[in-house]
Every structure is written in structure tokens, then in C-alpha cells.
């Protein structure tokens, strides 16, 4: 159905990074492998590597973000690229200028990469379809669709703790309906061969036919946690109490909040993840967020390495690439 993957160039190398969907297992493994050396850059006295010297990267954020934008910025700077941050409050943008008009203006400034966050699903694909051929686009989150670098940093974190993906049971808890993170995680986990992905939440927060993505649906958290290796908690937006999706934060925490007692149902060495920012006492107990099984802060650190890997693979295409990517693409 989906003819050609615009994320790859003619040689099958990474050109844009828009969604996990469309990549084969080896593509994802290559990105994880490429991130490994970057994960140690921060331990060195000089944190910069000169891979993207002379390149200009634009952080184009149509939606508020602190962490994601900052880690992209740090990643770009550690690769020695020049970074321009542009925050556009979509509601404040005059309706006159379209998304693409703005983009063409930026192109005229000779940039090499756009990192895009937008509140509408498909925005990053749209931009990638319309930018000049030399520009790469990285999706930093589009609507409820995709957040591929977040999913990859999660995979990187899981791999550091669990080694083999194949035997894992992974549980994703919360507002799957509105979560671009969950969608990307599901694609990444199934592509990497995880044996069982479970999604948990009330029916109001589980999108229709999510099973078609290869997951099992649970409405009872305790049942879903049994035997889990990885527990991923999603952020619950406060506005979900409106629109009759949920009765109250209190009831949500009671049913879907991760407490120490519930976590005991998972494997003893299970890790707990969260894309942040955390609502303590809404989706997760503080004692777990700060506890020994939590890898939440590691995720943030790994985010820089993964974003360095993705940026250097897309912009550094002309030169070095791990050999395996060409052999197995």
C-alpha cells in the first residue's frame, strides 16, 4: 500500500526521520548502534565532535516543548552544528502565512535540517514532501501520530538494560489515544521483535483497532503487569478530564497509576519508563519515579545520544555510515 518510503534516499540511506513505520529492523539497530559511542561523549572533557561542522540546523517548534527542544539543541551543538531555535505559537501565528510559506522562507536562509514539532498529525511528512531535496527533516512530534526519536531513545534505554528484545514483555499504560509516543514505541518494539506488547487503559483512551498494530489490549493494569519486563507510563494531560474521557484524576490514579504494590506484579528486574514530564500522583507514585527500577532520567540522557545518531546519519550521509546499513538495507 505504501509505495516508497520518503525517509530513505535512492541508496536506501536515512534522509528524513519522520516515523518508525516504514523502517526495517536493521535500520533501527543501526541507529541504536550509532548512538552507542555518543552515549559516552558527555563523560569526555571535550564533549564536542566535529561531525556536522558548518551545518545549520533549525529547531522549528510549533508547539511548546522544553526537554525535547533542549536535547535536540544539545545534540546538534555536540555535533558542532549551528543551531537556530524558532518557536512559533500556532494560535498566535497570523492565519495569513501558511506552514509551507514559512518553510520556504527558512529554506532561503540555506539551512540543512529542520527539526519539527507540530500539534497536527502529518505535519512533518508534509514538510518533508515539500522542502528542497538537500534538506533533511526530523520529526520531533506531530499531533497524535509519531515521535520517533523518543521511541528510539526508549529502545536504546531498554537495550542497555535488557540486551535481547525478543523475549520481552512490554506494557504501555495510559492515554494511548492521544499519544504519539505510544504509537512510535509500538512500531519500534514490534519491528525489533519484542514478543509481547500490551497497552493498558480505559476504552476511552485506547484508539479503535489498535490491535492491528500488533498489541494486546488490557483494561486492568494489574492483569497487564503480570510478568512484565518493561513498564512504560504515559503522561496524562489534565484536559482529558474534560470531554468525558475520564471521571477524575483520583479514579485514574486508583486504576491506572503505578504504585509499588502494583509494580510487584511485574518481574523483579522490570524497569519503569516515562517520556516525561511526570505527573506525580496522577500516573506514577513518586517513590517509583525516584526508585531503583526507574530509568526515567537515563531516558533523558540517552535522548541526546540518539538524536546525535539520527542527525549524523541523516546529515552525514555522504561520508561515514556503519557498513552494515548498506549491506542490510
Amino acid at each position: 500500500m505504501i509505495a516508497n518510503n520518503i525517509q530513505l534516499d535512492e541508496q536506501g540511506r536515512l534522509k528524513h526521520f519522520l516515523s518508525i513505520e516504514g523502517f526495517k529492523r536493521q535500520h533501527l539497530v543501526n541507529i541504536l548502534d550509532a548512538a552507542e559511542p555518543f552515549a559516552n561523549v558527555h563523560e569526555q572533557a571535550v564533549k564536542k565532535v566535529p561531525l556536522l561542522r558548518g551545518k545549520t540546523i533549525v529547531n522549528l517548534f510549533f508547539e511548546a516543548s522544553t526537554r525535547t527542544r533542549t536535547t535536540f539543541e544539545l545534540a546538534a551543538k555536540r555535533l558542532s552544528a549551528d543551531v537556530l531555535n524558532i518557536n512559533i505559537n500556532t494560535s498566535a501565528t497570523s492565519k495569513g502565512e501558511s506552514l509551507l510559506d514559512m518553510l520556504h522562507n527558512l529554506e532561503a536562509m540555506h539551512c540543512d535540517m529542520f527539526i519539527v514539532r507540530h500539534n497536527q498529525s502529518g505535519a512533518a511528512h508534509l514538510i518533508a514532501q515539500h522542502v528542497s531535496p538537500h534538506i533533511s527533516v526530523i520529526n520531533a512530534g506531530d499531533g497524535c501520530h509519531s515521535h520517533p526519536t523518543q521511541a528510539m531513545l526508549d529502545m536504546f534505554t531498554i537495550r542497555r538494560h535488557k540486551k535481547e528484545f525478543a523475549d520481552l514483555k512490554v506494557v504501555i499504560v495510559g492515554d494511548i489515544l492521544h499519544s504519539r509516543v505510544a504509537r512510535s514505541q509500538i512500531h519500534a518494539l514490534t519491528t525489533l521483535g519484542v514478543s509481547e506488547v500490551r497497552v493498558v487503559g480505559p476504552k476511552t483512551l485506547i484508539p479503535k483497532q489498535i490491535e492491528s498494530l500488533g498489541v494486546h489490549v488490557f483494561h486492568d493494569l494489574q492483569e497487564a503487569l503480570i510478568g512484565a519486563d518493561v513498564v512504560i507510563m504515559l503522561r496524562l494531560q489534565k484536559e482529558r478530564m474534560q470531554g468525558a474521557l475520564l471521571p477524575s484524576e483520583n479514579e485514574y490514579y486508583h486504576l491506572y497509576g503505578l504504585t509499588e504494590q502494583k509494580l510487584k506484579l511485574a518481574k523483579p528486574d522490570a524497569i519503569v519508563m516515562h517520556p516525561g514530564p511526570i505527573n506525580r500522583g496522577v500516573e506514577i507514585a513518586s517513590s517509583i519515579a525516584d526508585g531503583p527500577q526507574s530509568v526515567i532520567l537515563e531516558q533523558v540522557t540517552n535522548g541526546i545520544a540518539i538524536r546525535m545518531a539520527v542527525m549524523s546519519q541523516t546529515l552525514g550521509r555522504s561520508h561515514e555510515l556503519p557498513k552494515s546499513s548498506r549491506d542490510n538495507a
Binding site: 500500500m1 505504501i2 509505495a3 520518503i6 513505520e21 501558511s98 506552514l99 509551507l100 507540530h118 497536527q120 498529525s121 502529518g122 505535519a123 511528512h125 508534509l126 515539500h130 506531530d142 499531533g143 497524535c144 501520530h145 509519531s146 504519539r180 504509537r183 484508539p207 479503535k208 483497532q209 489498535i210 492491528s212 498494530l213
Partner: protein, 442 residues
Amino acid sequence: MPDITQLTSNLSSNSSAISIINGRVIDPANQIDQQMDIHLYQGKIIALGNTPENFAAQQIIDASRQVVCPGLIDLRFRLRDRGYETKGSIASETRAAVAGGVTALCCPPDTDPIIDNAAMVKLIRLKSETEGVAKVYTLSALTQQLEGEKLSEMRKLKDAGCVGTTNALHPVKSTLVMRRALEYAASHDITVFIQAVDPWLSDGCAHEGAVSTRLGLAGIPVSAETIAISRDLQLIELTGAKAHFCQLSSAKAVQIIQQAQQDGLPVTADVTAHHLHLTDMDIGYFDSNCHVIPPLRTQRDQDALRQGLKSGIISNIVSDHQPHSSDAKLAPFAETKAGISAVETLLPLALKMIDIQGMNLSEVIERLTLQPARILNLAEGTLSIGADADICIFDPEAYWIVDREKLLSQGKNTPFHGWELKGKVTYTIKSGEVVFAIEKKL
């Protein structure tokens, strides 16, 4: 309006005596499907078969190996004129219509200003007669300003020329107002065209299912359609109004309409050509040309629509022509405008039903001509002697590739760009006048 009358008679007197010879004449109303000649004079069909005595054709059209059928009648067609002329005009869109073999089209009231007063009806008719090349009919607004609160002057609008009434894409939320509107329409024998959408469940941009879930698009469930149809069917039973349901999209909707027809309710329904040929899978990675309302649904739904068309539960095919400027489609999917510039692909897409669904040529033509004419209560859509000479001539075997840049419509928004289609209009005649003829290649 004496000026209009005069204008019309001028047009008729200008149109010449035409003979169309050697064509395969298909006229479902008279069960004709055979090779014969057809003769037109002063805007009317005057003879089939032998040339009448003393008839001297000023123009002879050789329709060898071509089909000669009534001009197509399209029940849903946005001219964009008045109010949205950056998207299309009566001049541009009626030319697109006749290029697609459509000689009569029906314009919903959601123009700007809205067609809820007789002056707008007259304005559109006058513009159509001076600037247009196809017959333009209008539907009146069911409620004032389409706001779903006060009834429009639908009787006055009928007398001004409206062929039916509708609230277009704006569902009437109040059950009480809908009841009253149906009662009032029934009192004056006005057909109500219903685009069935539950206002509370329709806040999305794609069919709610695997595709909307994968793409993170807000979904519109099938129940948005079936709840609205079910409510209105109950009200139709209560009021005795005659209703036509516009562009069904789901298998469940076809089933409900079938049941209503079996129960004897005076209801008909139509389907768009694109719902017969596309599903939500065609959205691919956010192809905004597949953003339509009601949304493209699943393979199962598509199959049921095709079967419903063949069995007659669905009486006719519409284009739901909605030209847009290119900007309207260049945005993230949910922010793009819904609709397809569809009239120029209507006939070949309908003809595909011959191979796909085992319909015959006459059945397909009936659903593009006679059936829509009946719904509008017009004595059109036939080649009967004495009828208006509205004729479509097409080559049923000609293959062509859709090129959006070559569409005559101002709107280039088609998901069928690059499709190879079979069946090409060669001549279109409206009221005895050749309004479209394909350029002959040497």
C-alpha cells in the same frame, strides 16, 4: 425576469439542427440500447432512427463506436460561485461539468450568501445562463442561514426554482426543528436532501479504524452516519416527508436504508464515485486529496456500497464536486479542506462498475441520468422525442490518464491523478447546443 426568458429563447434559436449518426444509443428510460441515429432541432430531440422529412442537418456528428446517452445529471456539485470564487466559478466549473458529460447539475445552498432567499436563486440562474454552459439547479437551505433553528421560506424558494431543500453539511441538531422542517417540506411536496452526520460524533477527519489509529488522526465512527440516518428515518416515518440521503459511506448505512425502503418509506440514497473506488487505506501517509466528508471507509464498506448501487438501494452516483485552491490542500491532513474536484472523472469511475460489479452499460448510465432526474422530479435524463436535447457522447473503450493539470475545473484536487481510466467524453450537447467537443488528434 423578462431578460432571462429572452436569453433562453435566443439560445434555443441559435442552436442548429444536428444529426448524431452511427452511435450506440442508450436510453434506459425507453429501454433503448441499439445503433441508431438521433436528430435534434431547436434544442429538442425530434427523431430517433430515420431522418425526418424535410430535416436538413446543419451539423452531423459521426458517433461510430461511441455511446450516445442522455447528458449526465449530477446531484451534488459545488460551483463555488457565489462566495468562493478563488476556488471556482460558474464559468469554470460548468465547463468542467460538460467536459465530464454532465449537462445538468444541482448546487447545494452553502454558497455565500446562502441560498435561503429567492434573490439568490435568481442570481445563480441568471449567472448560469449568461456565464455557464450547463443547466444549473439549486437546492434551497432547509433552515435560515443553515443554522438549524428557523425554517427557510422553502415554498417561496421552490416557486423560485429550487428543486429540493437541504441543510447541506450542517446537521440540524435539534430533533424538533428537524421534525418541523420535514413536516413543512412534506406539506409542499419538497424533497429533503439529508447529509446524515451526527454532530457530536463527527469531530474528526478520517474513518475511525486501523488507519486513523495508525496515523493519529481523529476518527469519525460509522455510528456518526448511522445514528443520524436512524433518527431522520424515524422522523420521516412520523412526518411523511420525501427524503434523499446524500453520499452513503458505510455498509451499515446501506443496510439501514434497505430496511427503510422495504418498510415502504419514501427514501432514496446516493453514493459518490470516489467512495466506490477508494478506501481509508488510500490516505497512505496523509494524502490530503483523500480528505473527504463523509470519510473514506473500509474495503467492506466499499463492497457494500458497490452492491447497493447494483441492487438499486442506492439509486444514483454523484461527483460531489468540490474544487479547492491548491493552498486548501497544502496543510497537515486535519487542517486541509475536505473534498475532491471530481466531475471530470465521474463517468469513467462509474463505468468501472461494469468490470468490478458486473453491471451493464445501461444500468450505469441509468444511475447517472434517469435516476437523478427522477429524484429531482424532472422530465430529463432521457432521449425521448420532445425531450430537451441534453446528450453525452463518449468513447467507452478510450483509455486516458488523469492529469490534474489538464482538468478544466479550477480545482486540481484529485486523488485520481495518474490513474488510467476507460471511457472518454467526446461531445456534450446541452439544449441542442454543442457545449463540449474533444479536440481531434490528427
